[in-house]
């Protein structure tokens, strides 16, 4: 009986390597989806999420720098409001993703969920910042 359970778990681990993945993939970028399609284990899934996180962090940094520079057409009060909002967003993202990552305690799955959440919110923030940029260019 014990051997049967161990065997079943082993088969499930091979056949369902992406068992922990969400049913809705709408939030994932094409690069991330392509990486996950090739991934065959939890460590590989976590690597995909970390790569996605790095990609989105680089985009976020560039978008924020562009916006911060463009916002200088306005006065110091406006720039201060903009910076305060960005700081609060960082804190929100950190705590939200900490919460999301705890859907799996420990191991690669927790890494996967944390990195995926961080990347997802960064991607959304980049869209917001880029849209805001248009207001300074009018």
């Amino acid at each position: 009986m014990r051997r049967a359970i161990i065997l079943a778990l082993g088969v499930a681990a091979i056949v369902l390597p992406n068992g922990a993945l969400p049913t809705s993939a709408h939030a994932l970028t094409a690069d991330f989806r392509a990486c996950l399609t090739k991934a065959r284990s939890e460590p590989a899934n976590a690597d995909c999420a970390r790569s996605e996180q790095q990609r989105q962090e680089a985009r976020l940094k560039a978008a924020w720098t562009r916006l911060r520079t463009a916002s200088r057409v306005r006065d110091g009060q406006h720039v201060a409001l903009l910076e305060a909002a960005q700081k609060r967003w960082e804190t929100f993202r950190q705590d939200h993703c900490r919460f999301v990552s705890t859907r799996a305690i420990g191991g690669y799955s927790q890494v996967y969920w944390g990195a995926r959440c961080t990347a997802r919110l960064a991607e959304q923030r980049v869209t917001d910042l880029n849209q805001r940029l248009k207001a300074y260019k009018r």
Binding site: S24, Q77, A84, A85, A135, R138
Partner: protein
Amino acid sequence: MIRRIHSLLAPRIAAAAFAAGLAMFGNAQAQAMSPVGQACYEQATTNAQMMACAGAEYERQEVALNRMVGKVKEELAVADKRRLPRFEIALRRWRGWRDAECAARADLVRGGSAAPLVRLRCLASLTERQSALLKESLE
């Protein structure tokens, strides 16, 4: 007669200017609206009516968010109560960010009559987005 025409047209002209200002600055952020909110907004012809639509939309989104927060808490109570404090911290942080973000967006039209409307639409839009994010966390 001229005074009557003026009194009839003035609110519409003001609303058009208001909407133009919103389109130029405040609407630079995509701000989604529920179909009810959109219909209300399309029929509004004065600043006051637009404000009323935006206020009602914000209230609708707050109600929807509170419902979603309740669902997440129910789920956590069943699945893992230890995650509840983290969820509440995250929610507080989100409110802090939303208010700061909407203050910054409204500041794009500082001093203008569109500023309170931009702020309200921003609050409604980000509240709607948070509901969607929490829904995702349940999947």
